[in-house]
Amino acid sequence: MDEVLDRLPGGFLTFRDDGLIIATNRTLLEMLGYGDGGLSGGSIEALLTLPSRIFYQTHLFPLLKIQDRVDEIYLTLRTRSGEGLPVLLNARTIPTGTGAQHECLIIPMQSRDKYEEEILHAKRVAEQAVEELEGLKASLEERVRERTSDLKQLLSELNGLNYSIAHNLRAPMRAILSTSAVLRSEYPGSLSEDQINLLDRQKLNVETLSSLIDDLLQLSRIGIQLPVKEQIDVSSLAMQAAVEAVADRQAEFTLSICPGVTAWADPNMIATVCAGLMSNAVKYSPRGGTITFCGQQNGAEIVCFVKDEGIGMDPQHIHHIFEPFARLHGEEFPGNGIGLAVVDRIIRHHGGKVWVESEVGKGSTFLFALPDSN
């Protein structure tokens, strides 16, 4: 063998298809502990650890036969004393008169191997951590699902309870109204004026209570019923609601209603929304003011608004107004603070949202957005 090849700073070896070693250089022999000879006529497999032999048979040899070359193959050689020596191997196949011959260059990589071990270890640790994280995430999601379902259950129970409380309050109230009516009609002459005044005040209060209970019933019913959606004409619902609200107030207003605003929603519920917003607008507007309704497509939503020229609201308090019983103004404006809560609940029930833009003295604009699921 060429002297240079023999002393090459790397192992050199040639073998045949059947694995028989044809030649080795001195560097390889020294690397493997055969410096004094003793390695000839053997099979390349004898130089490999068992796992490397499997890899040689399943990967290295097939690759070599088809590509006539392999590069950077990691193998573990077995030294004469039986120890493992990690190496990188490059090989080329050379056709000869007596069949193919495979020439290999072999570089030991002991310290690099340790480094790679560490990288692989770190990779395994990272993979394990990812797996644990995935597990934690899954269990968290499961807990969220459980809690959500518990909350939904609780909410539906509460809604049911609200509904039955309001419903059960109606009968005794009717009884109070009828007893006070009986008192008036059965004892017309024997009641003093003071007593009649007291009965009047009682009637007035019971009627307030009755309308409050009706509103509460409506509010809790929204939580129970699912919207039955269809294509609806919001403009005509707004117009109808505005006309009724104006008639209730017994005053004149200018109505500016955009025609042709449509949405995919429950017609009864949106009629309630329009009634709530229109009566609100009429209530807080000066006589002769303009009330505007319009709507338009905005991305995947229909956004509608009701604008008045009323007293407006302090932006600081705005976020409370959709809560039940929230009232920003005093007794001079009638109402129980349920109307806007009903509006809010209906719109949210449709998967939409409602909000308000307002300035004291300049009026308010109530906006609601409905998903355009059609």
Binding site: D17, G19, L50, P51, Q57, H59, F61, P62, L120
Partner: protein, 246 residues
Amino acid sequence: MMFAHGFGCDQNMWRFITPAFETDYKIVAFDYVGAGGSDLSAYRRERYSTLSGYARDVLDIIEALDLHDLVFVGHSVSGMIGLLAAIEQPQRFAKMIMVGPSPCYINDGDYVGGFGHGDIEELLKMMEKNYMGWSNSLAPVIMKNPDRPELAQELEASFCSTDPVIAQQFARATFLSDNRSDLQSMKIPALILQCAEDLIAPAEVGTYLHTRLPNSSLVQMKATGHCPHMSHPEETIALMRRYLDG
């Protein structure tokens, strides 16, 4: 004639054999899902965790191409994959040729498979190191970039390489398989080509298989190693032909 590759490579390993049978047979060569040029997106971890998933690949191809009177040629682990397929649908198969098969690679009591569990773990580690260079970064890129064929070409250049995770799973499915109890259910005549000095399927395994596999013939080859179809194609072809013509 259907050619099934073994663990570690793809259908390219049959390139020295198939031309010899082209005139007499319709040749069907394929890559298991996860190997070679297969569609990696069809890979299901669950399906390919045991050899029965690979047998399903064989049957899927047989059904899709409506193959009958089939000669199934399986290298290494494909001997047992073919056996599982032939047990499930024997009416499709005529003959089977197993090159270096083994029903169980792990030593078990008196049974000598050739390996201990530790050896298999070491092999998996070694594969991991050989995949270190390219595949972790490259494979996912290719899988997600069907519109960048130059990446696929790069993969083709590193022939026989598969996704490292898939390769590891195939290694486990292969080396941890035990099909000894299935042998008696085999109805199709089979040829066992047993190499000399085969580490992966030693001579004892060939004999074990022959005595328990009904209707089987065992031929001891001169070829050494585990891939006679690549190292000694002439002898392999001659023995196959003798069996098929006889």
